[in-house]
Assembly symmetry: D2
Homo-oligomer: 349 residues x 4
Amino acid sequence: MKSKNLRFGVLGVGRIGKIHIGNLATRIPGAELVAISDIAAAELETVATRFGIARTFADYRDLLNLPEVDAVVICSPTDQHYRMIVDAAERGKQIFCEKPIDLSLEKVLAANEEVSRRGVRMMVGFNRRFDPNFLKVRETIAGGQVGQPHILRITSRDPGPPPEHYIRASGGIFLDMTIHDFDMARYLMASEVTEAYTRAAVLVDPMIGKAGDWDTAVVTLTFENGAFGVIDNSRKAAYGYDQRVEMFGSGGMVTIANNTPDTHILCDSAGIHTALPLNFFLERYAESYLREMRAFVDSVVEGKPVPVGGEDGLKAAAIALAAGKSARENRPVKLAEIYREVAHTCPVS
Amino acid sequence: MKSKNLRFGVLGVGRIGKIHIGNLATRIPGAELVAISDIAAAELETVATRFGIARTFADYRDLLNLPEVDAVVICSPTDQHYRMIVDAAERGKQIFCEKPIDLSLEKVLAANEEVSRRGVRMMVGFNRRFDPNFLKVRETIAGGQVGQPHILRITSRDPGPPPEHYIRASGGIFLDMTIHDFDMARYLMASEVTEAYTRAAVLVDPMIGKAGDWDTAVVTLTFENGAFGVIDNSRKAAYGYDQRVEMFGSGGMVTIANNTPDTHILCDSAGIHTALPLNFFLERYAESYLREMRAFVDSVVEGKPVPVGGEDGLKAAAIALAAGKSARENRPVKLAEIYREVAHTCPVS
Amino acid sequence: MKSKNLRFGVLGVGRIGKIHIGNLATRIPGAELVAISDIAAAELETVATRFGIARTFADYRDLLNLPEVDAVVICSPTDQHYRMIVDAAERGKQIFCEKPIDLSLEKVLAANEEVSRRGVRMMVGFNRRFDPNFLKVRETIAGGQVGQPHILRITSRDPGPPPEHYIRASGGIFLDMTIHDFDMARYLMASEVTEAYTRAAVLVDPMIGKAGDWDTAVVTLTFENGAFGVIDNSRKAAYGYDQRVEMFGSGGMVTIANNTPDTHILCDSAGIHTALPLNFFLERYAESYLREMRAFVDSVVEGKPVPVGGEDGLKAAAIALAAGKSARENRPVKLAEIYREVAHTCPVS
Amino acid sequence: MKSKNLRFGVLGVGRIGKIHIGNLATRIPGAELVAISDIAAAELETVATRFGIARTFADYRDLLNLPEVDAVVICSPTDQHYRMIVDAAERGKQIFCEKPIDLSLEKVLAANEEVSRRGVRMMVGFNRRFDPNFLKVRETIAGGQVGQPHILRITSRDPGPPPEHYIRASGGIFLDMTIHDFDMARYLMASEVTEAYTRAAVLVDPMIGKAGDWDTAVVTLTFENGAFGVIDNSRKAAYGYDQRVEMFGSGGMVTIANNTPDTHILCDSAGIHTALPLNFFLERYAESYLREMRAFVDSVVEGKPVPVGGEDGLKAAAIALAAGKSARENRPVKLAEIYREVAHTCPVS
């Protein structure tokens, strides 16, 4: 391999960590995976063996202290992100951080400032921006093929709810699940959200309600450009992972269908039958995880800004907070209101 | 023909009137069209000649005075509906009335009471309930194939806005256009709407804004059963008449695609191309107009209740009023609030 | 109604006869149905009552002798067609005849000559030419959107085989069923068939084999323009009536999907499910039966040639005979060979 | 990595060779790529550098002489296959050979015998068997969901013809292009072909005719089980790479659609538009190339028979020869006739 490879350390070897490790190990030109860290020793060893990774650490700070590590991928639980970002930035590492940056807007702001102050890059893992379907929608809109945007619809439904401990640590459906849709809404609309109105309920599993969260939600967004957006979420779609968007504008509409494992069509006496969607995000977004990491590597290597930065992480989180507040209070909540609350503690750009 | 035919008079020979006249003239077993009325003499004569209708009247009351007329179809401008209903009910005619019954909830209530008092039937022209696509969605839901309803989505977009004079007399987008969707929402959800929240804007044509109306809207509905509904409307879809619904529930989802004039698929070097939707309601709902009139005839002949009654007209109108109020005040509006306002004048059932 | 109406008599009140009677009775401007004939007295009466037809005859010649009858629709069993055509032509009636004209090419030729000699028009009931899907394919090809035709594929499968007595009188699968596809092939290719090669088998029902017929066939056609066609037939498709064509050419491809009763899509844990095709020709081609009769009326009224004439009936039959001979002898059979055989008896145009 | 890795050499670094090299280098567990050979020195070096391959050889025999090479992938021009197979088998290497094994049936037979005599495995690169779409069709048929097979349709059209020198060395359309479809036909039908009838023409490019080949073909196959198959081919589909199959049987039908780069649907005033198919085999069959090599590695490592063997290569070639003969002589050709011709030289199993 060539000497100018970007050498990576991955912090956290859970579900998402393994995706990034697999990609970095073999499928990303210009990247070299040199170390991984996790407090779960057995899992760490399994992963290191499987992908042939030389160095493993229980303490992520030991990994960060390796001078040969140029960049880190933060895939730890959300409550670890902030500390890891600060520590990595301090050591001059380039940072790729999974979403959300943090559950608190104050800490998101602080993380962004630290990254900026240290002069490193931080890319946030809104991987769906790199999915071929969503990309095509974005390009179609950007190319003017649907004219001025009027109504954006996003349907985002999981095949089944996560376990209770996950729900409890997740920050709630808006910061955990809908945050992807909030980012997608900003990305596709190319305009900022100014207000959110949410109706939310517990229709899937009472456990989720007991944990203080919702499993079903409809969010109406108002954008600066005068257009509207509607997001609907469910924690459980019986037919699998449902990931669709539709942009309607003055010149037409562009939408996408779900991806399936194959294109077969079976016709029998009972009807016409086709395949269910790819079941969950690991399969559905395999390509986008790969592409986002390639984009991160390219932007670092070429000295360009990352395509999804801390500001994007901040804004998606702010919409999530507005959506949650709206659901609790059954009234439209302006984003300015959310930013004002934070400004009591620290100033917003 | 057999002696037990239901003999019809049609009041109003405009766009919708002609549909009902054409159907009654030839395609509805058990129905016989004997008279039509309209103040537009030339058009009245043209229609009478084309469909071979013996008797024509400038004044609808002369038609109502014909003893051989068993039933009337009211297709006049909305502001005529109330008077015609009262006059027809007084003469014991069975009534089919186009939607909306009236722009004022008080008069809708009064019309319903008059019909009830006179012991005649009144069916309201929510024809989409008789469309094969929507019917199939209803049957699928009723058959339990999507489980408990969670989220209903309705997309209803016209191919182009009506002229200014129509807009000004229409009662606004919610009473004129969305009212079909409000009825469909109740019909598919089989549960009453308790609250509406609306975001509306003028994005299509400034004329519409000057006329005091909106052309683009997103309405969130809350139902008694705990489920949510989202309706999005536009007065102008560049690709034609867009009429879709999607019901998502605990067991799955059912949705429909638009109807097209043919099923061709053209593959050339530029892409894969298929036909645009049938352009507007006369083509798209030709079948449902026919079926609803058959249903009306059958219910009268067989002495059964009409499938869509004055109560349905009332409830759809109430939702429309709530949606409009919500749009003006940017807050969720409960249906109870709308009904309370009316109760100052007259009591609601 | 206007005096210049074309007054019709229908000969035969079976399955197809009823379609034409229903259409002529109410849905075809410029047409007036005045008489029907059939040897089945009870059925004749039922139909007459249902559609309010004044005059009925057991003997079709009595109907033909009515001077007020301008045109006749021949829907009797195939073996009656020839005699009825000759008798109707003799009396100067305009003729619409169901396909096939006759099972023998000699008699088809003779019928065509008689019609020509008497100076009346004869249209042959290849109704599919008037179906919106096939029409669109034709227009797309004619408009040059697929370039020079290279390969035509036709799939034509029935939902289930007819009863044995029908099979035995049908002239075999090629003259009874595939003849529609042969006509469609000529229509879409706009070029004559020069050769046919057929593989045929009895895979659906041994009864069909015992009756000397096949139920499954694949026919390869060669056209004068150098292109090829492939037709596949089955007497039984478990999923219903399958009617598709695909034209592939130098510039692209155009194809059609089956028509369905609705456009619903059901997504549940077992898969994505849509509606079966409209089950059989009465439903599937309801529109084309209506349109072909309108076209017949228009061509007579306007003094223009009929859109599908006796020559078309002749050529489709000749291809059917070539296809059958090819199946029996397992070799390609040229159309010239079929025409030569007939020429022994009578000259071909 | 684990010591029991299967160590690979790849012979030929052309278009297909690069696919296998890329897969073996990084994406196939249990495989290790240790050497590559090609007479094109510059290209060999480029590939070696890009994938970090230690050893390169101008002469494939030097590669075969490496004792550490367990298995070879033969991706050289077809006329090299036979010699490489014999040499590799002699040295006890496991063999993966691209299709066709050879253009002469005699040499295919001889290669198969040599492989058998030396006790090594040889897998033939009919990669489409490993494509998720075709696999699903196969599973659906095998699972009985379409009942007894009656009619198989395969459409296989390239986006554009290869250059003249390729055409001249290819062995003709049937041995070069249709051979994949012949293998697929056997695979899906699970029954042997007994006869072929072909219509072929030069409709795309006169150069192809001058080279003694055809660019457009329709082949009818008869199978031992009584079913029929139809394959249509073109060297140029304006809309891209068209790869579809459809199996129709007593219980229903299963078919597949083309794969596309995304699932977007654009609706504008001109129509509804979706993406073209993935353009050519490198993109379309990327997954199947990967899966077939994994299957090869697994079968060698686990000591099981390869899923596609020399016998499959032989039979597909024999059908190709029958199809070509049929095209030249315009008559159905039995497979037995082809095998008899070969038997003059060497006996067939």
